[in-house]
Amino acid sequence: MSGRVVRAPLWQRCADVAARAVAAIGLGYLVAALAAAALARWLPAPRLEATMIGSLASFAIFAAVAMWAFAAREAWRVWAFGCLVASGLAVLIWLSLLMEPRL
């Protein structure tokens, strides 16, 4: 589909697709799960409501990450930026747990 002029060798294209697919599924799930947890902790609403909003929104986040994993110019960017976002979310969750324990 891409690079109709110069095609990269087959193994390179396969590796690229594999890297993106794993990012879409694995990293996508990780980011969605962490986002659900972070929203559940940080949204200014009763706990049950916040939990619900975070969980309901998580599938949209998953889909967005999965699409971006295939839209980004280079596969490594997905991994780098995705891991950055994931660690940012993890820090947010950790901070909120320090401030207020779980029910």
């Binding site: 690229d16 659900a36 947890a37 916040a50 889909a63 699409m67 295939f70 110019r73 779980r102």
Partner: protein, 526 residues
């Protein structure tokens, strides 16, 4: 990926659609059938009678349970609605002193199925009924339940991705809104058909996919709950508040008149229907009757529960109104299930869902039609192409054939056979894999015609099979005014005719004069 955003999304749409397409087609079609789950169950249990009012069924259930299990710890009665012919009963026996009561529901020994009208126990043939199609559409089969649900979740997630990337890919959503050109070149008309079924029912497809994920959110995305609650039980108590359990007092007292209690409940709900009745400590002064509202009464699937004093019939408590986010969750659940009372709305759901099946099927066919033109030698396609082509034939014709085969097995397997229900299910998969094998053994164009014709025959002959083997048939249903069963037979005939029409179309493509034009895309299978 290199290239524009739209190109990369087109690639993603093509491949996520292809990889998950076959399972998605099976999920979509069995899910579509599940909108008529109670009717399918009624058809598959010809020993059961007709629907009756819930008050009548409740009276029968109480009479039966008072006789059979007067000392039970609790009774649970699932009342029939206007689509079901039976009340389903379950009771938990009182724990013998010194022995820990089993918390899990037992099998067989403390269950009963009662006729809705007479209250007499009925023993329908051993069958999973419509429940099988419902279960298989979100948890597969031959797999542990949780694994199956994860498979369904992955497929649904990529369905969502395929829908969104498809919207991005489609360049002319509004310009081509009403466009369908069946007489143009194969690739054009298949693309039109795919766009048509996808775009025009897009709100339904998006809704059903997203809400499908939401129905199993507790399994797929428990992390918000984990982040807020130490123990999942705390969350469940907040989410599904229940009346407190009361100790048995030991003082005997007769149970309040259940139909009267149900009447009060219905008034409380402004005419809503009761669905599940739970009686704890029946026959004791501490008895409590909990009545849960029918899940098809509102958009929100959970209609709330009222608790009544089991002796006086006084209302004790009601579940509190949920907050907006919880309500949203329940509405999403309800929208997916579509258990709404109105038959018109149910048919609208059914037709939109069929459009979804057509969208998946046309998408799968389009993959081969598009690539056939680019094959180096169209008479000898490479392995991948052949595999996709065969799986397409075997699945698009095979799943409906399999579903019909299951209904055939329901009528033809001996009633007393051991493992009968399981063999009905096996026949679904035997027929489906048989169709795939058939598609592999025959030249593709012949295979399309043959498998589709076989599926058409299996579906359309069902009313006859039923008439020959049981008392359920179109004439008697017409004479007794059993419109649900009349509609069932007519729907089978219509679906069979639709499959036969597809087979005819596929046959017409095959016999089209070959050499007139030199492009081979012209004669793709229909």
């Amino acid at each position: 990926m290199k290239g524009s955003f739209r190109q990369s999304m087109a690639w993603l749409h093509t491949w996520s659609g292809l990889v998950f397409g076959w399972v998605l087609f099976a999920m979509f079609l069995t899910g579509t059938a599940s909108y008529f789950r109670p009717e399918i169950t009624r058809w598959m249990e010809p020993e059961t009678g007709r629907p009756a009012s819930y008050a009548q069924a409740a009276q029968g259930a109480v009479a039966y349970l008072t006789k059979t299990a007067p000392d039970a710890e609790s009774w649970s009665i699932t009342l029939p609605d206007e689509r079901q012919a039976t009340a389903r009963l379950f009771w938990r026996p009182a724990p013998t002193p010194g022995e820990e009561a089993p918390r899990r529901r037992g099998r067989g020994d403390n269950r009963a199925v009662l006729d809705a009208a007479t209250g007499e126990p009925v023993s329908p043939r051993d069958t999973r009924g419509g429940e099988f199609f419902y279960r298989v559409h979100f948890q597969m089969h031959y797999l542990p339940v949780l694994q199956g649900r994860w498979v369904a979740g992955l497929c649904a997630m990529f369905m969502l991705v395929a829908i969104l990337s498809g919207v991005v890919t489609h360049k002319r959503i509004f310009k081509d809104f009403f466009t369908f050109r069946p007489r143009k070149a194969a690739q054009r008309s298949w693309l039109d058909a795919h766009n048509l079924t996808a775009v025009l029912a897009l709100p339904f497809h998006l809704m059903i996919t997203y809400t499908g994920l939401v129905t199993l959110m507790g399994l797929y995305m428990p992390w918000g709950v984990t982040a807020n609650y130490k123990a999942p039980e705390t969350y469940f108590e907040a989410m599904f508040p229940r009346a407190e359990e009361v100790e048995r007092s030991g003082v005997a007292a007769p149970l309040a008149n259940l139909p009267g209690v149900l009447e009060t409940a219905s008034e409380q709900w402004g005419g809503g229907r009761p669905w599940i009745v739970n009686v704890s400590n029946p026959g004791d002064a501490s008895a409590v009757i909990e009545v849960t509202r029918h899940s098809g009464d509102q958009l929100a699937y959970a209609g709330g529960t009222l608790a009544f004093n089991g002796v006086t019939g006084q209302l004790i408590s009601a579940t509190p109104e949920p907050g907006p986010a919880v309500l949203t969750n329940r509405v999403m659940y309800g929208l997916h299930m579509g258990r709404f009372a109105d038959p018109i709305l149910r048919w609208v759901y059914f037709l939109c869902s069929l459009a979804g099946c057509a969208m998946v099927a046309t998408g799968l066919v389009l993959w081969t039609v598009k690539r056939r033109a680019q094959l180096p030698d169209p008479d000898r396609p490479h392995f991948g192409f052949r595999l996709v082509e065969r799986l397409n034939i075997g699945t698009i014709a095979g799943v409906p054939a399999g579903m019909a085969a299951m209904l055939w097995a329901n009528r033809l397997l001996p009633v007393g056979m051991a493992g009968r229900a399981e063999w009905e299910v096996h026949s679904f998969f035997i027929a489906w894999s048989g169709m795939i094998a058939w598609a592999c053994a025959r030249p593709p164009r012949r295979a399309w015609v043959e498998t589709l014709s076989a599926a058409a025959f299996l579906v359309a002959a069902l009313p006859l099979v039923s008439a020959a083997t049981t008392s359920r048939n179109l004439v008697s249903a017409l004479l007794t005014g059993d419109w649900a069963m009349v509609a069932f037979d007519l729907t089978l005939l219509a679906l069979g005719a639709a499959l036969a029409f597809c087979a005819l179309k596929a046959g017409a493509y095959r016999s089209a004069p070959k050499p007139r034009r030199r492009t081979r895309t012209e004669e793709a299978p229909a």
